[in-house]
């Protein structure tokens, strides 16, 4: 699908940047006039994906997280979050609800949350090379509430 507008953001994998990443993506998406709930959905999905990069992909040190947001036809938002970290050995397992390698205070629900707050989540990963998570969400917008 054709991209009508796009933005690229690069951030260092510091946890303090999680808030920046989700706010930046939702600010870009605001041109689609999303509802409050849709803004929250976008922020939450981005927060999960960026946290995964920090907690898992770059667990052994600092790295760069590459975020590309495209606005496609029909108010479809495509958010790509890419890292050059360790990669995921078993994507299917990683996406299972409650599966975590992150210790007792990580719920293991990052991908479940991403999936339930968007229309589609795609994951491509190669061990030792990195991971790209693509989140697709159609924004119905505030006009849909009237």
């Amino acid at each position: 699908m054709k991209s009508l507008n796009s933005v690229k953001i690069q951030i260092e994998s510091r946890s303090i940047n999680e808030a920046y990443a989700r706010v930046a993506v939702s600010a870009f998406a605001s041109q689609l006039d999303p509802t409050v709930e849709e803004i929250n959905d976008i922020k939450t999905a981005v927060s999960e994906a960026v946290t995964n990069c920090i907690v898992h992909a770059y667990r052994n040190g600092l790295g760069i997280i590459y975020i590309t947001v495209n606005i496609l036809e029909n108010s479809v938002l495509e958010i790509k979050i890419r890292d050059r970290g360790c990669g995921i050995e078993n994507i299917k397992k990683a996406m299972e609800p409650l599966f975590t390698t992150g210790g007792t205070d990580r719920a293991g629900l990052g991908f479940s949350v991403m999936e339930s707050f968007s229309d589609k989540v795609k994951v491509r990963s190669k061990v030792g090379v990195g991971t790209t998570v693509t989140i697709i969400k159609r924004i119905r917008g505030r006009a849909s509430l009237v």
């Binding site: 999680e18 989700r22 939450t44 999960e48 946290t51 920090i54 205070d105 719920a107 949350v113 509430l145």
Partner: protein
């Protein structure tokens, strides 16, 4: 981001505020755990009234506290959840572990910015 804790005899209430994500969850966790361990309350109430954002780190936070008290006689309640935070909690099945309550006014008009 500040966690205010109120102790009333055997009830500990933690008032959370701001954004709950992987970055600031540890600080909130430490504040609550310190109080649970020293006070051994009969009831733990976590109040989300002033929480403006929450991702799955909020689930981890509640689940972790639940694990800390599950073998004691302490009961846990999560109150004043926004519609969004309630959805996140429900997704994790937290309603099976603790009493979940939404913010009263948000039940009807959650779409007004």
């Amino acid at each position: 981001m500040q966690t205010r804790i109120e102790i009333n005899e055997s009830i500990v209430t933690a008032y959370l505020s701001g954004e709950i994500d992987h970055h600031n969850a540890p600080e909130i966790r430490e504040a609550i755990d310190e109080c649970i361990i020293s006070r051994k309350p009969k009831r733990l109430i976590i109040d989300f009234k002033d929480v403006t954002f929450m991702d799955s780190s909020g689930i981890g936070l509640v689940m972790g506290r639940y694990r800390l008290i599950e073998n004691t006689d302490c009961k846990m309640a999560i109150i004043n959840l926004s519609v969004h935070a309630y959805r996140v909690m429900q997704l994790a099945g937290m309603d099976k572990l603790a009493v979940l309550k939404k913010k009263p006014k948000e039940e009807k008009n959650n779409e007004i910015a």
